[in-house]
């Protein structure tokens, strides 16, 4: 019995029990459903073992959307709790867990996953490749991410969620002050999914460098691919820092070291230092692909080439380097001397310059264009002013002296939501709508989509603009409640109202998906948006091999110039195509990793050892395995191409 006691949630409440039941029922329903429709074989063969970048991308995005609703529910709970003074909807401890999981889920398991999902689906198509450089590694990346996400989410019902904030500062996160296993979960969930992300980073850099279609020089790549390349470079160099920080945290919590304690020479703020050396570049990992998405969309729906292509690329390269130079602005207030704070203040504000260049380039892309207000374009157009507000408040936060007043307040919360939601979330929604026809062969309903857009963006404004004001009025972040005399009440109520409007917007998006599955026409052709880059040159739905004939590219708007200037994209004849084989190993390895990490969280050493041996066995099996993939014969390709109307 004692063995099982550790799995109990430390602060149970009816809400948690209700969610336990809900989660249990959902899992049962899914299992029952799959069994009833006899889909296990299909699921295993076509999805769980797939190495196809398109399917992996779609799985990433589905998981990310699930996480969006998990994190969104957290958000609404927080806004509800703080909507009136002295509210008792959530207790302090529960509120702390809710905002911690909200942050982690939204950043790591939602935004990152969606961005990586989009890269997976789009990048190989945009560069005319058949798959990524290491397809099986790609599958492993996804399943490791998924294992990390699952591990993090079961913390809610088994053993307790982390409660030290998503920044997880020590010593608050140490055993002394965070007594449940929550922070162990945090360490391992981020560790596992971080490993997956690092592999993605390497994979996509090699893909983009080595697998571009003939003729596609680096400076002829579509902007989204460029942003993916730079993002992955940041991933590769930022994530190892997190790995070390998490290892140190694990050592402190589970092996009794004193690396982040305030005794025996440990230094609590070193966690903060390492966390932000990773954490600040992480912000750019999220936002750069979003910039890429907007670049594609604005260019497409203005009917024009992207203005200032070279300066767009250059500014991203500069951002990628500078993102590693500013991290100490997250703790201006820890007591550095004015000289140190000044240095980081200047580097922080300097990042605004390359970002500003991009804003003006997008504006100039619309200049003399022919702007069509589709749903993706609406999000992009709303992004420009909203993100500018978020960006300039960032510059304000970069003023070190003023940061002493903004730090840890709702002003800061307003700022980073103001960059992340119009920046990343709008890009996700825009990108999803934009590439949806390529993924599924039909379009999302434009009219319903526009309704959703208005709800989401107006809801956003009501939700977060009031926070700037309450922040300046002295409301600290992460307070589960406040007294009436503070006067924060009305503005927080407005925020809650905004959150509700946003939530309705997201429900409309779900409704739109269901509605469009049922009602949208399927005969939309390969290029429903009249777009410009290569992914629209292949047939919809995209076949396993992407392009029957590898395209040859002459300009940065390859497909557009094919349409307008008649450049020939597909030369030569269909030849047999080499494709990688599916493999069950990635999902098995991720499953083993899940067992390993779960056992580690609860100090079940037998489980740790068994899982470690099993994992190594998988590696050895892989080392000795001979798998050269397979060829798709010409006859089969021709048959598929003819059936679907042919590529060229």
């Amino acid at each position: 019995m004692e063995f099982f006691e550790r799995f109990a949630v430390p602060h149970p409440s009816p809400l948690i029990y209700a969610s336990m039941v809900a989660i249990g029922l959902t899992v049962l329903a899914i299992i029952f459903g799959i069994t009833y429709f006899k889909k296990w074989g299909y699921l295993w063969k076509e999805w769980l073992t797939t190495v196809d970048h398109k399917r992996i991308g779609i799985m990433y995005m589905i998981s990310a959307l699930l996480m969006l609703f998990r994190g969104g529910a957290d958000a609404v709970m927080m806004r509800l709790q703080t909507s009136v003074p002295d509210n008792t909807f959530l207790e302090a401890q529960h509120y702390n867990e809710v905002f911690t999981t909200h942050g982690v889920v939204m950043i790591i398991f939602m935004a990152m996953a969606f961005i990586i999902g989009l890269m997976n689906f789009v990048v190989p198509l945009q560069i005319g490749a058949r798959d990524v450089a290491f397809p099986r590694l790609n599958a492993l990346s996804f399943w490791l991410y998924f294992a990390g996400a699952m591990l993090f989410n079961i913390s809610f019902v088994i053993g307790g969620s982390p409660d030290a904030g998503w920044t997880n500062y020590y010593p608050l996160a140490s055993n002394d002050f965070s007594t449940s296993v929550g922070v162990n979960y945090y360490n391992w969930a981020l560790q596992i999914s971080g490993l997956g992300t690092l592999m993605t980073g390497i994979n996509f850099i090699v893909t983009i460098i080595k697998m571009r279609a003939p003729g596609m020089k680096l400076m002829k790549m579509p902007m989204f691919t460029w942003s993916a390349l730079i993002t992955n470079a940041i991933i590769v160099f930022a994530f190892p820092v997190l790995t070390i920080a998490l290892i140190m945290g694990t050592l402190d919590r589970q092996f009794g070291t004193s690396l982040f304690t305030s005794t025996s020479g440990g230094m609590d703020m070193q966690w903060a230092n390492l966390f932000w050396i990773w954490g600040h570049p992480e912000v750019y990992i999220l936002i750069l692909p979003a910039f890429g998405v907007y670049s594609q969309i604005i260019s497409t729906f203005s009917g024009r080439n992207l203005y200032g292509y070279k300066s767009m690329v250059g500014s991203m390269v500069i951002i990628s380097l500078m993102s590693f130079l500013v991290w100490a602005h997250h703790f201006f207030t820890m007591g550095h001397d004015a000289f140190t704070n000044s240095i980081f203040s200047i580097t922080t504000m300097a990042i605004a310059v390359p970002t500003g260049i991009k804003i003006f380039n997008w504006l100039l892309t619309m200049w003399k264009g022919k702007i069509r207000f589709t749903v993706p374009m609406l999000y992009s157009v709303a992004f420009i002013p909203l993100f500018t507000i978020g960006g300039v408040t960032g510059v304000m936060l970069g003023v070190a002296s003023a940061d002493f007043q903004y730090h840890n307040t709702m002003f800061l919360v307003a700022h980073f939501h103001n960059v992340i939601i119009p920046g990343v979330v709008f890009a996700m929604l825009a990108g999803m709508t934009y590439w949806w026809p390529k993924m599924f062969g039909f379009m999302l309903n434009e009219k319903i989509g526009k309704w959703a857009f208005w709800f989401v963006s107006i809801g956003f404004c009501f939700s977060f603009f009031p926070m700037y004001i309450t922040g300046l009025d002295g409301q600290a972040r992460r307070m589960y409640t406040y007294s009436e005399s503070t006067g924060f009440g009305p503005l927080n109520m407005l925020s809650f109202f905004g959150a509700g409007v946003m939530a309705i917007g997201f429900i409309i998006i779900v409704y739109n998906v269901l509605y469009s599955i049922k009602n949208s026409p399927r005969n939309i052709g390969d290029d429903p948006w009249d777009a410009r880059s290569l992914e629209w040159a292949t047939q919809t739905p995209v076949q396993e091999y992407n392009f029957a004939i590898t395209p040859e590219v002459e300009s940065s708007d390859a497909y557009w110039d094919h349409k307008k200037k008649g450049y020939q994209l597909f030369k030569g004849n269909i030849e047999k195509i080499h494709m990688p084989n599916n493999s069950g190993l990635p999902i098995i390895m991720a499953g083993i990793m899940l067992v390993f990490a779960f056992s580690f969280v609860f100090y079940i050493w037998a489980g740790v050892i068994v899982a470690a041996i099993a994992f190594l066995a998988c590696l050895i099996y892989r080392s000795f395995e001979k798998d050269d993939g397979h060829y798709i014969p010409v006859s089969e390709i021709k048959e598929t191409e003819n059936k679907n109307g042919g590529a060229n």
Binding site: A133, F134, L198, G201, I202, N203, I205, V206, I209, K210, M211, V236, F237, A238, F239, P240, V241, T243, I244, A245, I247, M248, L251, F255, G256, T257, S258, L259, T261, T263, S264, G265, G266, M267, Q270, L274, I277, H578, I620, S623, F624, K626, D628
Partner: protein, 198 residues
């Protein structure tokens, strides 16, 4: 698989070239991993709490032996790749085996060193300094141990299958990994041991 015969075997297919480039980028990530360890170690170097300081516990002899073993193994793995490019299977296997033996020797001495630290009261939990020292050395040591088994399996595969694009590619990537561990050791040797004993 298209094989390009004008290239050395390890570069001969597109996939091989991508593997090598991918591994180089992975080494870039490893540089950051060790840089983080070094940064933290440097910050903690004087934060010894009530435990011993670096100069109290470091001993020059085992460190010198470890350095020599790893430097030499880095040389022999280079020779192994040279022999592989000449197509000399037995010479390759010999050099690879020597490399692994030297690596095993290194691991042995490192274990000996850790036991010594434990005996003089410098355990993982003693202070922030000892904790970080052992974490840094341990990370490097774990890399070498992983490399030892990786090399062993490659040795078995070369012995069984001879040289082909697959085994040649694996051997070359392994050699990159091994050289990299040597480079990292040079930094550990210079900036942890020698600087600590200066």
């Amino acid at each position: 698989m298209k094989i390009d015969n004008t290239q050395p075997l390890e570069y001969s297919t597109d996939q091989n070239q991508m593997n090598i480039l991918g591994f180089w980028i992975f080494l870039g990530a490893e540089i950051m991993l060790f840089a983080t360890l070094f940064a933290t170690y440097f910050i903690y170097a004087d934060r010894t709490g009530s435990g011993p300081t670096g100069s109290d516990i470091f001993e020059i002899t085992p460190v010198l032996i470890e350095t020599f073993l790893l430097l030499t193994s880095s040389f022999t793995i280079g020779l192994a790749i040279n022999a592989m490019r000449l197509g000399r299977k037995n010479a390759t296997l010999t050099f690879l085996a020597i490399t692994l033996l030297l690596g095993a020797g290194f691991i042995g001495f490192e274990i000996f060193e850790f036991v010594h630290y434990y005996h003089v009261g410098a355990g993982l939990q003693t202070s922030a300094f000892t904790g970080m020292l052992l974490t840094t050395l341990g990370t490097h040591g774990a890399h070498v141990t992983f490399g030892f088994f990786w090399g062993l399996f490659i040795l078995i595969q070369i012995k069984r299958d001879g040289f082909n694009p697959r085994t040649a590619n694996k051997s070359f990537i392994f050699s990159l990994y091994w050289h990299f561990l040597d480079v990292m050791w040079i930094f550990i040797f210079s900036f942890i041991y020698l600087k600590g004993m200066m």
